[in-house]
Structure formats: structure tokens, C-alpha cells
């Protein structure tokens, strides 16, 4: 006998932002889906439920007529299903293939990372958010997209403005205005380079979009570039910081990884399990359905909390600890199903193979600063917002 979705009203939005994990545990132990007033969504927090949902995109759709993402960015592939999604996804796939990354992007990521680390090498201390992670993610994304004459600060500002706009449920006019301005800036930046990419096929995303077997039209290009800018900057930035924080907080694991570089990929996967940069994303229920004893109704909006699933104690032992030696098993940091993160291999290479290994090999005796502890924030998007470190300069 299925029950209605239970409702929880005693959680403050700020509690979710500060530390969602105790709340996630409570929700996981309560039911497969729990409506949380502060989030205005029914949250799904168990690993197995999310996997099952992502294998059934007819019942749990990504398309959503009322989506703020569509309003802010246009009709992006992130909010499409089936063949409409697959066609657009195939068009950009070649830019994100592991081989393209290894043979083309890796050298560019290395050069960017080298430049940023060289600039701080003699300082002896820095906040890795501003000094490394934010510019690295932004500069890499500019290259990957094929934009030119856009500063990393501008791209980072656009990205934040789009994400704020997509989450602007209260309709704040100032947030809307900033999102509109960012959108216009991106359209103009695309116009500047699009003809060049059409005439000079290359591995950049804009080139893939116009030179694909089924090329995108301008409306599709604009929407999908925006979704990549909105959704492709925070994640590498935050995972650079989470991986660094995980290792700096666990010196024996750091020592092992320094002695055996083959462990870097495991360390990276553990970092994104431990603090998943995208903590929650939405789906729309298209028909009445039962989810492990809870009755969901057609039209319900549900939030898939992969940040919670990745700490599901039915699945992971001591889920709250960073342990790169835990038994290897899948996590949901890149999502699952047809919308599985297109940038997963970029992140693995850039963060796990290039930037963080270079950081630890170049800055000797890199350590946390007891006087200035790291700060971690967020739930829909979560990551360190400050990571002060010191080293022997």
C-alpha cells in the first residue's frame, strides 16, 4: 500500500545551505521521496531510487514547460528528452570524447594550470578558490567552447548570473536583469566567432555544433552554450577544491597518492562522491507512479539529491569520510541515464590528472591553515567557497 509523499516543514533553507548531509540522512531514513517546504520540491535521497528514476525518462522527464532554465537560457538539451535530446547531445559529443581530451585539450589545460601555479609559486600562501580553481575552470571553459576575447572573470560572472536566474523562483527583477544581460553578452560572444568555427573545423564545442552531421541552428547553439556555461564552470572549480581539501585533511592518503600517481583517478572519483558539485537536479513526474512505497502523482516536481545518494549508508560505509581506498563502486556525481554529464571525461582529466597533481607537486609541503579554516557552502551546488593554504616558498 503506497503512501502519499510525507511533508517536512521544520527545515530552514539556510540549514540546507550550511550542511545538507544530516538533513539528507533524515530524509533517506524517512521515505523514498519527502516534500521539503523550504525547497518546494519532493526530494529523492536514496541511491537505488535515483538510479531507477534515471533509467525511466518517460515517467521521470527532464523536459519541463514551466522551467526557469528555459526562460533564462532558451530551450537547452538539458530540458529535453528522447531523440530531441540525443540529436543535440551527439552534435557536441566529439569535443568531449576522452581521446579528444587526451590528444587536444590536455596540453591546453596543462598550460593554463602551469601559468596559474607559476603566478603564486613564490607567495607561500593563497586562497585556492581565487588563485587557482576559479580562473582554471573559467579559462579552460573558454578554450573548450571556442570563445575568444572573453576574460575569465566575465565568463565566471555570466555563469553565476545564469545560475542565479535559473534559481530565481521569487522573480527578483534585479536577478532577472543580470541574467538577461549575461545572456545578451553570450549571444554577442558567439556571434563574434561562429563564422570562423564554421570555416575552420576544430575540437571546440562551437565548431562541433555547426559542423556536426545534424548541425544545430542558432537558437539551439545559443541555448546549449548557455547551459554549458551555467553548468560547466562551478563543477570543475569545486572539484579542484574538494579534491585538494580531501587530501589536505587526510595526510596519510595524500602521502600514498604522491608515492603512486596511478591513485589520482581514484582520489578524484572519491572527491566528487564526498562533496558532489551538483547536489540536486530536478525531474518531472509524467504519470502516477509508486516509488518504493510512496505514491507520486503526474505533474509532481521531484529533486534528485545525488549529493545525498553519494552518502547513502546503505551503499557506502562511513559515507561522510573521504577515503580514496574505499571499495570501488559507482557514484552519482555525474548523474545517470541519458543526461549523464557530458563533461565527465574533461573533469577527470583536467582536475584529477592535471591541475591537482600539478598543485601538489609544485607547491612543497602544501598544508591547510589552522588559523583560516576552509568554508564549504550550498546544496543544489555545493563546494568549498574558500580554501586558504600555505606552502614552503
Amino acid at each position: 500500500m503506497a503512501h502519499a509523499v510525507p511533508v517536512v516543514s521544520d527545515i530552514a533553507f539556510s540549514d540546507l545551505l550550511i550542511d545538507p548531509y544530516p538533513i539528507y540522512k533524515r530524509l533517506r531514513d524517512m521515505a523514498s521521496a519527502v516534500y521539503v517546504d523550504a525547497a518546494q520540491l519532493a526530494l529523492v535521497t536514496r541511491f537505488d531510487n535515483i538510479v531507477a528514476i534515471e533509467r525511466d525518462s518517460e515517467t521521470f522527464a527532464s523536459s519541463n514547460p514551466g522551467s526557469l532554465v528555459n526562460k533564462v537560457m532558451g530551450h537547452t538539451m538539458m530540458r529535453k528528452d528522447g531523440e530531441a535530446h540525443a540529436t543535440e547531445r551527439r552534435a557536441i559529443e566529439v569535443s568531449f570524447r576522452p581521446g579528444t581530451i587526451k590528444n587536444h585539450w590536455a596540453a591546453q589545460f596543462e598550460a593554463i594550470s602551469d601559468g596559474l601555479i607559476s603566478a603564486i609559486e613564490n607567495q607561500g600562501e593563497a586562497d585556492l578558490f581565487d588563485a587557482l580553481a576559479a580562473p582554471m575552470a573559467s579559462l579552460a571553459l573558454i578554450e573548450l567552447l571556442g570563445l575568444r576575447e572573453v576574460s575569465w572573470q566575465t565568463l565566471a560572472r555570466w555563469s553565476q548570473a545564469l545560475m542565479d536566474g535559473a534559481g530565481n523562483y521569487s522573480g527578483d527583477p534585479e536577478i532577472s536583469a543580470r541574467a538577461t544581460e549575461a545572456s545578451a553578452g553570450i549571444d554577442a560572444a558567439i556571434d563574434t566567432v561562429l563564422a570562423w568555427h564554421r570555416e575552420n573545423p576544430n575540437p571546440a564545442v562551437l565548431s562541433s555544433m555547426v559542423n556536426a552531421e545534424n548541425p544545430m541552428n542558432l537558437e539551439q547553439i545559443r541555448a546549449n552554450i548557455k547551459v554549458i556555461i551555467g553548468g560547466g564552470l562551478n563543477e570543475p572549480r569545486d572539484s579542484i577544491l574538494s579534491l585538494s581539501l580531501g587530501l589536505l585533511s587526510n595526510p596519510p592518503q595524500l602521502a600514498e597518492v604522491m608515492a603512486n600517481p596511478d591513485l589520482w583517478p581514484l582520489a578524484f572519483e572519491e572527491a566528487v562522491r564526498w562533496i558532489s558539485p551538483i547536489g540536486m537536479y530536478p525531474r518531472r513526474v509524467t504519470r502516477d507512479v509508486e516509488l518504493s512505497g510512496v505514491h507520486l502523482r503526474a505533474g509532481d516536481q521531484i529533486g534528485l539529491c545525488v549529493g545525498a545518494a553519494n552518502r547513502d549508508d546503505r551503499r557506502f560505509e562511513n559515507p561522510d569520510s573521504f577515503d580514496l581506498f574505499r571499495p570501488k563502486q559507482p557514484h552519482l556525481a555525474f548523474g545517470a541515464g541519458p543526461h549523464f554529464c557530458a563533461g565527465a571525461w574533461v573533469a577527470r582529466q583536467m582536475v584529477g590528472r592535471i591541475v591537482v597533481p600539478m598543485l601538489f607537486s609544485r607547491l612543497k609541503n602544501l598544508r591547510l591553515r589552522p588559523d583560516a579554516p576552509a568554508r564549504i557552502h550550498g546544496w543544489v551546488f555545493r563546494g568549498p567557497v574558500s580554501l586558504p593554504v600555505a606552502w614552503d616558498a
Binding site: R55, R97, P98, P330, F340, A344
Partner: protein, 106 residues
């Protein structure tokens, strides 16, 4: 319906009947065969449905696409000549009797 046999890394055999037109990955998930993870559910984006296919059926399972081949270079278990992403191989009558070996890691 053709019968195919999955063999896990530990050597356990699972013979299953498979519906024509579906992918080998879908069959593995449907029959709860352990070791086929399929994080991306058939988008050829994650390389976690990697399997070793019976070489005797190499001509019948279709050619490896460029994208699939690229993904196969990055599987957790070593790529071998008989490696495929099981989401890219469709069940057909001609595959009756085929064995599919599941690697130790995805």
C-alpha cells in the same frame, strides 16, 4: 528469442533469453547480471558497460563506431580485441549461443 550467456569475472554463468532489437546492456540490466553498471544508460558516454564478446560472433555484432572505440580506450579494465560497449550491440537472431564476458572492473 536468442539465448546469450553472460559470464561474470568470477566465472559464474547466466544464460538468458534476449529480446531482438534491444541492446546487450539493456538485457544485462533487466536480468540483473552483476558487473554491468551502465551509468549513462546507453548513451555511450560513460564506458561502464564494457564487455568482452565471443570472437566467433565478431562479424555478427556490427562494427565499432568511432566514438565507441574512443570510449573503449578509457575503460577501467583493459581493452582487448573483443572489447565492446554492450550498449552499442543489438540483439539479433544470429547472436543465439553467444557468450559475453564481464570484466572485473567498470
Amino acid at each position: 528469442m536468442p539465448t546469450i550467456t553472460f559470464i561474470t569475472a568470477e566465472g559464474k554463468e547466466h544464460a538468458v533469453t534476449a529480446e531482438i532489437g534491444r541492446s546487450v546492456m539493456e538485457i544485462a540490466l533487466e536480468k540483473s547480471i552483476p558487473g554491468v553498471v551502465a551509468e549513462c544508460n546507453g548513451s555511450a558516454a560513460c564506458a561502464t558497460c564494457h564487455c568482452y564478446f565471443d570472437p566467433a560472433y565478431a562479424d555478427m555484432i556490427g562494427a565499432i563506431g568511432e566514438h565507441e572505440s574512443d570510449m573503449l580506450d578509457f575503460t577501467a579494465s583493459p581493452r582487448r580485441p573483443e572489447s565492446r560497449l554492450s550498449c552499442q550491440v543489438r540483439i539479433a537472431d544470429a547472436l543465439d549461443g553467444m557468450t559475453v564476458r564481464i570484466p572485473a572492473m567498470q
